[in-house]
């Protein structure tokens, strides 16, 4: 945790962190001195001449005031570090996110990453001041008191020092067991309620099948059977949670007993012994403070764990080479024995795929779901990197290219068109911020964005809202097509929307593919006949392998998988709901 924390600090603040640590130690020492000053002070109060306590009080006041001053300075630095953590930490995560491999972003990781950027801010600010400082104080103070006690009474000082590790271990164990208990309770609850949630989720199906009552009986019985076992599991955790309380109370009794015994044996005067009882209470106070910090420690460790998860996530490897300046026009793309899987232990999505896409051609990738079409597109786009094999553009290995060079190669129309919060115009210009009005106008017209803007009062200056939500799905799609067209990249990749309700955009996609103003090599993952018809070549993919490859006419004539696909698509387009008459095909 400390390591993560230090990593999050900007380099120029590391020295400050050292200063903060020094001040914290000094503050603790002053507090310990204050505690031990109680010995002569209290001893005087209980002795024959209470007035003798005044100088000691003066000393206590001086030490306490010095403590305030030191701690104020430490707090100032602590806050400063907190704000530095906030600024640097948040930015470094945001930067990091753009370099993490896309395959890392599972639902769970995405949630972690979102929380790491969005919600850890306030926790970071208070991290040093509310957590690091107090925890360090709570651990160091008893040690310091133990040391300060040595000159007064060696046995007591030693006992106090010996108690520190014992109590810390007890504290740590209790906290751990408490956490395990919480998790056990949570798991038990999840196990018990999962079936109820499932029962609720499937209500329509169960009722339609007249199975709701029997299913309820089954779930009920299963719950009853599971109940006892889980409860026992939870109960087993309880004794451990009492450990710390027991240990600190026992320490109190033991230390007080030692003091008393010393007094009884005459090694200590009675007033000194009483004073030492007070110091013992001070000593234990620190551990109690540690207990109160526990919820804060939990929050902070959660925050840091999230941040660390993002920082430790695998990043894409980055090349450094540039494409030769002579490379202009549409490139030839070659996939050489490309293999890919999403997780190390996951199934091979692509396995040894060889494919060459000639310069300036348009290729349609067709195939059933799960055949690897979108993966192939992502590999071409550089969003994923092959687990084996190479993707070559005009003979250059794309993995060796510098990020900017790699990015300049491709433009993509995504299925889920993400727009950022800005105007329609800004979003299209993201494709090429330096584009002139004529090129912009051309892209906008080709993608039929002009039809959209004509309907809007603010035209192309209309704000698209957060994540583009002010536009309909189809409108967003068109903006994203215009954006892709505007980008002067020699490779254009189109992932056609699967949602059948978006047919209005089919024409826009077709026009985009047909646009010849920029020389490009084009690849489209296609579902609709309209966009396939425009391809020079069709590659039919199944289980990550090319099973058919040829022109539309050629493959149709061959009567294989593609012809089958084509026929079904045609039939599906004219489908009508029928009833009594039966099927009309």
């Amino acid at each position: 945790m400390i390591r993560t924390l230090l990593q999050l600090l900007p380099a120029d603040r590391r020295r400050l962190a050292a200063g903060h640590a020094a001040l914290t130690v000094l503050g603790v020492a002053l507090r310990a001195a204050g505690a031990v000053l109680l010995v002569p002070l209290v001893a005087d109060l209980f002795g024959p001449d209470p007035g003798g306590a005044w100088p000691w009080l003066g000393a206590l006041a001086a030490v306490t005031a010095a403590g305030w001053a030191v701690d104020t300075a430490a707090a100032r630095i602590g806050f400063d570090l907190g704000f530095a953590l906030l600024d640097n930490g948040q930015h470094s995560i945001a930067d990091r996110l753009t370099r993490i491999r896309l395959t890392w972003f599972t639902a769970a990781h995405t949630a972690t990453a979102r929380q790491a950027v969005a919600t850890t801010g306030p926790d970071l600010v208070g991290l040093v001041i509310y957590l690091v400082t107090p925890v360090a104080g709570a651990v160091l103070l008893p040690v310091a008191i133990g040391l300060a006690l040595l000159p007064i009474s060696v046995p007591l000082g030693l006992a106090a020092l010996a108690g520190v590790p014992v109590l810390l271990v007890a504290f740590w164990t209790t906290r751990r067991i408490g956490r395990v208990a919480d998790r056990t309770a949570e798991d038990a609850n999840t196990a018990l309620t999962e079936r109820i949630v499932e029962f609720a989720r499937t209500q329509p199906a169960l009722r339609a099948a007249r199975r709701a009552e029997p299913a309820r009986g089954l779930v009920g019985a299963a719950l009853a059977a599971q109940h006892g076992a889980t409860v026992r599991l939870v109960l087993l955790q309880i004794p451990g949670q009492l450990l710390f309380g027991l240990a600190s109370q026992a320490a109190l009794v033991l230390l007080a007993g030692t003091t008393t015994a010393l007094a009884v044996r005459g090694d200590l005067g009675v007033p000194e012994a009483i004073a030492l009882l007070v110091v013992v209470a001070r000593y234990l106070e620190a551990f109690a403070a540690l207990g109160e910090l526990t919820p804060g420690i939990e929050t902070a460790t959660t925050a840091l764990r999230r941040i660390r998860a993002v920082r430790d996530a695998p990043t894409v490897s980055i090349g450094a080479s540039a494409r030769p300046g002579t490379a202009t026009g549409a490139p030839r793309i070659r996939l050489e024995r490309v293999a890919f899987r999403y997780a190390d232990d996951g199934p091979q999505v692509l396995d040894g795929l060889d494919l060459t896409l000639e310069a300036g051609t348009t290729t349609a990738i067709v195939g059933p779901s799960g055949s690897g079409k979108s993966t192939l597109l992502a590999l071409l786009a550089g969003l994923h990197q092959p687990t084996a094999g190479r993707v070559l553009v005009d003979g250059d290995d794309t993995a060796a290219l510098a990020p900017d060079e790699r990015r300049a190669l491709v433009s993509v129309v995504f299925q889920q068109p993400y727009l950022f919060d800005g105007t329609i115009r800004d979003n299209v210009l993201a494709g090429d911020p330096g584009a002139g009005e004529d090129r912009l106008g051309h892209a906008v017209a080709l993608a039929r964005v002009d039809e959209v803007t004509a309907r809007l009062p603010d035209g192309e200056r209309t704000a698209v809202g957060e994540a583009g939500t002010a536009l309909s799905g189809g409108e967003r799609q068109r903006v994203s097509i215009a954006r892709a067209l505007l980008k002067p990249a020699p490779i254009l990749l189109v992932d056609e929307a699967t949602s059948a309700l978006d047919t209005e955009n089919e024409a826009a996609v077709v026009q985009a593919l047909a646009d010849r103003t920029t020389p490009r090599t084009r690849v489209v993952v296609a579902h609709r006949l309209g966009s396939i018809r425009h391809a020079d070549r069709v590659v039919f993919l199944e289980d990550g392998r090319v099973v058919e490859d040829g022109t539309v006419e050629g493959l149709l004539a061959a009567g294989g998988r593609f012809a089958d696909f084509w026929r079904r698509r045609e039939a599906a387009t004219g489908w009508r709901v029928v009833s009594a008459g039966g099927s009309d095909t």
Partner: protein, 856 residues
Amino acid sequence: MAKRGFSGVVIRSYGARDHEVTVVGKESLAPHFVRVRLTSATLFQDAVAVPTAWLRFWFPDPDGGESEHQRAYTISSADETTGEFTIDMVLHEPAGPASLWAKRVEPGWTIMATSLGSSKFDVPEEPPAGYLLIGDSASIPAVNSILAAVPVDVPVEVYLEQHDDADPLVPLTPHPRARIHWVPRQGPASLAAAIEARDWSDWYAWAGPESGSLKHLRTRLRDEFGFPKSELYAQAYWYYGRAFGKRRGTPEPEPAAAPEPAPAAAAPSGPAVRGAWRAQGAGRLLAPLKRTLILSGALQAVVTLVQLAPFVLLVELARRMLAGAAESTLWTLGGWALGLVGAGTLLGGALTLWLHAVDARFARDLRRRLLGKLARLPLGWFTARGSGHVKQVVRDDTLALHYLVTHAVPDAVAAVVAPVAVLAYLFAVDWRIALALFLPVLVYVMTMTVMVVQSGARTALALRWSERMNREAAGYLEGQPVIRVFGGAAGSTFRARLDEYIGFLDDWQRPFTGKKTLMDLATRPATFLLLIAFLGTWLVSSGAMDPVSLLPFLLLGTTFGARLLGIGYGLSGLRTGLLAARRIQTTLDESELQVRAGPAAAAAEAPGTVVFDRVDFGYRPGVPVIHGVSIVLRPGTLTALVGPSGSGKSTLAALLARFHDVDTGAVRVGGHDVRDLTADELYARVGFVFQQTQLVHGTVHDNIALALPDASRERVEAAARAAYLHERILRLPRGYDTVLGPDAALSGGERQRLTIARAILADPAVLVLDEATAFADPESEYAVQRALDRLTAGRTVLVIAHRLHTITGADQIVVLDGGRVAETGTHDELHAAGGRYRQLWDAGANRTTARAEATL
């Protein structure tokens, strides 16, 4: 500063900033009601324009004196980015500084305003049954902002006290479900008396009337109607016969309150009914545990006291040692101490065990009740809530209850008992030092208050920010592929937003670092120690105190501050648990589907006949979605429901599958009212295929044979073949015996076909179908369509149609508009008729009714 008097100083010490505000215009909204348009460059750095938000203005003395008068006015509209806003002001008689200013004001005038302690009104995610708004012309701006925020389908009752004949001319924000009542003021009791005596269960009340009226209102709303505290917001907006605000400058003369005209005895409008609120649900749910919880609380109190006892024993030990007691008495004390420690630990452990046992039993019963409830709720309840809500209630809320019972209650008791016991003990020993211990606490509380007040709107803003950052971060993550391909600009808005957020946190929190350090220093043990040591030395050396009395303070007094401040934290755990309990109770209170013991209807009609008989239906009372719809579906025919989204076609179809019950009229299947049939009887006749598919945990075979668990493999295979799924199933690792799960997953279209196979096997006479099902997945569109052909053949089919071209062959097309039947006929008839259907046909140009209601 001087001219603002004491309250000015207080406000200043809260750090509230004065903002200069310039008048840019004024218009009259009613004879005695003006809108003043204002602008300020800096105000909205502090203020947030949310419903009912208000500002404190410092109005000049009308007599030209030095002093300024503070009066509150509501922000009636605002543009936070430009800093322009308006306030609406009543010109009342007798006038005060504010109303006089309003009368005279001209563009160009300036005035100072602060945003401090403003309020805000939020509609919760699950709105109350209705809003009861009470006020008068002065609170109309606030009432208007509330009316604008309340969803259109929530009823609102507005009671406004009338002082002036022109009051009803003041414009009110229109709300379709608002009813306005003007109540002439006859005295402070007349407004309260005018509130209708009815059952206000689950309503929320907001009141901003005159102070005297408010007193009576509180009694009526709280004591007579039973409004719980959490569901009632009340604030006096002015005092009858007395200036309201503070003044700064000359000392404030206490004005003699003008005698109020003798109240005409206003008789309350009927006997009051006490309502019941969801907000009180937690209490009901936990009622069976009440005695247990009280007992456990008492036990925990004992445990806490026992845990403090060793410190008291230490004091006694010291006393004995000083008195030179025999060694043996000291060891007796030691024995006691050990015994107490052991007893405390044992007792604490036993208490925890016992609570866990109690909780386990309670949780088991609760889950059983929830299960029973879920089986009897109308299906519409599930579709309206989604799986997230169900999970929240069933999983998260039951877990929260576990913590409430086993941890939160004991923690809260311990947090309260410990400081109280310590305090009592210390006061008993020496009240002077005990009193002094409050000094650091006071410093803490005051600093805290200042911080809270200074934060003002920022606390609410921080919440908004965190919600917003969550959304933005989600978008940024989702947009990663786009950002990586397009780089730069695509990701820059997120970065800009992140910078803004960091800037906001920095601006807000950095100025507080000094105060936070002060709070920390004031309450740390070292500070208490010095305080105690100082007073002790003083009192002991002057002989005013026995030194032994100092010991309890040295032992227990140092952590007193921390303990006291821990109370708030200890109690916070209760809140989460109670909210969870409330949600669970709300679910348990939902009304269930009833099977009427109807007459064993002579089924005069063929089993496949469906009749909608003058059906009315609404999701909320008073907001009908379906109006008097009558349709007959003949056996074996296809009826299509078409209409723009929101026309009620999905709702109407859902009524046939009894996802909801009709309000009036009836839906009959084969002559039986669907409400007279048990669920099993109904679904033996009516099946449905919607876009959402639900697979139950089990094998493929089990899933298809859901309705006929004993069906033979042959029949299951036949159904799968008919649904074009047989081949695919054979390719699964274990064929029909494959347990569906993450390793053996089906695609969307395949799941769709499995649902269809299930319906084919169940073989209902009547089928409700969402046409969008056929296009849900382009990969297997063709197969799904063939499967549907098999399913629909020979049945009475009611289809929700999104694309008109798919239903041109229907026997009957019903065009819905605004929940009413607009037209009925075949495609050719309707197309020729040139009515609503023709419009839809032409508008769609045989395309799609794009953003169709895909779900119910």
